[in-house]
Amino acid sequence: MSKLQPARSDTSEAFLAQAGLELAALCTACGACFDACPMVDHIGLRDFDSRAATVGLRQLAKGETGSLEAVAWVGACAKSGLCVSACPERSSGLDAMLLVRIAKQHALNDTHQLSVKHDPTYFPRIKTFARLQLTDEELAKWL
């Protein structure tokens, strides 16, 4: 059983805006998270300069334009989480996976370097699967 951390902001959106700047300030762009990331192999960036990649990560997390390589990397994040333990600043409070997540959100919504892949059928499909299988009682109680 895990205790959840206390609220630090009034909304998740406000928390992410605050956390992006805080985490970026803790990041030294050492490249350790990039080196630990298994998805780097799948996007052909294993030979790319890991320090340069993390400079881009830090820029994106602050809402600034990042390098194409940094954008490709954050866009490929699969939440493996190996970056978290690899980060030498973890003990200072740097959650590298959250930093990458926030960088990706900025690349989607602010710098527009990642294209949005919105699937309008996402919820309708799930609801159809539910109606295909659940009883009336389950539909009423669970959803």
Binding site: F15, A76, A78, S80, R101, H118, L132, Q133
Partner: protein
């Protein structure tokens, strides 16, 4: 233990609605080890993790869902939320809670089942004669030691031989599917490891892996099961798997299709069920 400690909310997420039997089995397993589980999920309890491109909407979804869990904690004494989906669990820990006051704790289903190991073991009295390869990812270990928890649970089943498969990137198959070729590499790695180890079963941990690998059921005489199916078998509970059967060629019965509205079924569900396997 305080009164109410066994009253929990089982938060199964959105995409588990493809796997109704797995939701029902999870509730039964919780009950067998002494929990009073009330299940919720679907869009009304969305965490917002799939909506990074809509930060305001995602934030509002997070607030609504936290409010609903807070209400269950204060009104019904359900101050524990038991998760299934690793995306929901991580989103709650990392993003929802820091932006919303919470009145509940969270744990993953695998944690609370293995924490009641003695009760679980005594409930699993039916031998399950399978040689099983566990399909694993490296992710989610930042929050829950998921692979070792599931190994702990499955190791309690009499007759079951367990082999831990290669640990793939990501936290589940859907997370690697965004990168071309990564899902195929993951599926290939698991299936070849199962064949090399002469396994007759591949066991998934999460729904998204089950959804992707279900299409391979029967290939090289290897069957696909989720870990809750195996626990249920050991408890003597029937553990059917409609999604796997549909994915390998069967169709839902006509009454179910009509209930879901045939037009919606044809447009939204059938294309998913008939898409190629991740190895093609």
């Amino acid at each position: 233990m305080a009164v109410g400690d066994d009253r929990v909310t089982f938060w199964f997420g959105c995409n588990m609605l493809r796997h109704a039997e797995m939701i029902r089995l999870s509730i039964m397993l919780l009950e067998r080890v002494g929990y009073d589980a009330s299940a919720v999920g679907g869009p009304a309890y969305c965490c917002g993790t799939a909506h990074d491109h809509e930060p305001r909407a995602a934030s509002n979804m997070a607030a609504r869902t936290v409010d609903r869990f807070n209400e269950r904690a204060t009104r019904d004494g359900r101050n524990k939320v038991i998760t299934w989906c690793p995306s929901c669990h991580m989103h709650m820990s990392d993003i929802m809670a820091p932006g919303n006051a919470t009145h509940f704790d969270i744990a993953h289903l695998s944690e609370i089942l293995s924490d009641r190991g003695a009760q679980l073991t005594s409930a699993m009295s039916v031998p399950v004669k399978r040689r099983v390869l566990l399909h694993r990812h490296v992710g989610f270990a930042t929050h829950v030691a998921i692979n070792s928890r599931v190994v702990d649970v499955l190791s309690r089943i009499s007759g079951l031989e367990l082999i831990e498969g290669p640990a793939h990137p990501g936290h589940m198959c859907s997370s690697v599917a965004v990168v071309p070729g990564a899902l195929a590499a993951t599926a290939r790695g698991t299936w070849s490891a199962a064949a090399e180890n002469r396994c007759d079963t591949v066991c998934t941990i999460f729904h998204s892996c089950h959804r992707e690998l279900a299409a391979l059921d029967g290939k090289e005489n290897i069957r696909i099961r989720n870990w809750v199916h195996l626990v249920a078998e050991a408890m003597g509970i029937e553990a059917s798997d409609a999604y796997r059967d549909w994915r390998t060629g069967e169709a839902p019965d006509i009454a179910a299709i009509e209930r879901a509205e045939e037009r919606r079924y044809r447009q939204l569900v059938e294309p998913e069920l008939r898409r190629p396997s991740p190895l093609r």
